[in-house]
Symmetry: C2
Subunit: 201 residues, 2 copies
């Protein structure tokens, strides 16, 4: 049963849109119709933007992030502190850190998390590159900024074990009550962590 | 504050993705990252599919639907009953009717609904074209398949008033309990309509 009776071109567009995270078959259909309806303002600019990104965006050979240049803007910026490395799982996490503007060092993107369930092994991640960078003389601290999930924390433990010999300080993000968070809605683990890490007021 | 530190190309892609229905800034960022990650399998094919749709899809001059040909496949199919017209607001509604495969006549797409709030007036919709088609000798019935919303029903009433002189039978979709629906979750209006239109068992 085709999703639309408007020909294979639209079918193909809907099938591709449905592969985007968060879009199912129904929202892909809505999206395709919105694109056709706004041909000049949305469909053609989006086609151009995709071709542009496809042609220009590359992975940074140093940190594993994506940018139009290699090394990326963060790796090549002289204003960033080259002594601190922040390790993140995905480029999206790097972007989240940058939006918070709380870190002025450089990054290392692993490209995922260790996961026995999904069959993601240490050699699938950019861990060898991290150990090589951390062993360089100018790195003093590695901040592990993985998600606070089982897989994220497994990855953090694995990396900690392998960075022991590099002689760098290893830290992780603090656990605690999210800013704006309500105790009644928090899980026990977070409350326990927040109590254990309580600070003088 | 940019959504990403990866250059204006990605920014532009995110801004365009965020204009799709159902995608906000956050899901647009996730979508852009997924596209970059799956360059060969997703990004480049999507760019091609968009360019393809942009170049080939046009509006049918007869019914107002979209297709690669004008008149569209439904308007030109000899197997469809040319005596019955089904009036829908949007192309998506036509697709929904076709998926249900419950109608073998032809369609007329208005391109929206009358809406005082959004300032959509009769002249903004393809109503004149409908009256012209309905007045043709070979049309015997017009089915109004607008949404069961205030705007949809206002549009249906407006069209009914203007089709009176054409001498065609005018019908509308039945109201009632959706198949698989539970009474306890239905609104009073639907239950009242279902009782009023009850059928012998």
């Amino acid at each position: 049963m085709p999703a639309s009776p408007a020909g294979s071109e639209i079918e193909k567009l809907i099938a591709l849109l449905a592969k985007l995270p968060g879009l199912g078959p129904r929202s892909a259909r809505r999206g395709a119709l919105a694109l056709v309806k706004k041909r000049e303002q949305l469909l053609l600019p989006l086609a151009d933007a995709l071709a542009d990104v496809g042609a220009k965006i590359k992975q940074c050979g140093t940190c594993g992030s994506i940018d139009v240049c290699d090394p990326c803007q963060i790796c090549s910026a002289p204003t960033r502190d080259g002594a601190i490395l922040c390790v993140v799982s995905e480029v999206g996490d790097l972007w989240a850190m940058e939006r918070a503007a709380a870190f002025r060092g450089r990054y290392h993107v692993l490209g995922g998390c260790l996961s026995a369930l999904d069959g993601i092994m240490p050699e699938d991640l950019n861990i060898a590159g991290l150990i090589e960078r951390a062993a360089a003389a100018d790195i003093t601290e590695v901040i592990l900024a993985m998600n606070a999930t089982i897989d994220g924390q497994t990855t953090a433990h694995y990396i900690t074990d392998h960075l022991r010999g590099c002689g760098v300080k290893i830290s992780r993000l603090a656990h605690g009550v999210p800013v704006g968070g309500e105790l009644d809605y928090l899980d026990d683990g977070t409350i326990s962590a927040a109590v254990a890490s309580r600070r003088e007021f």
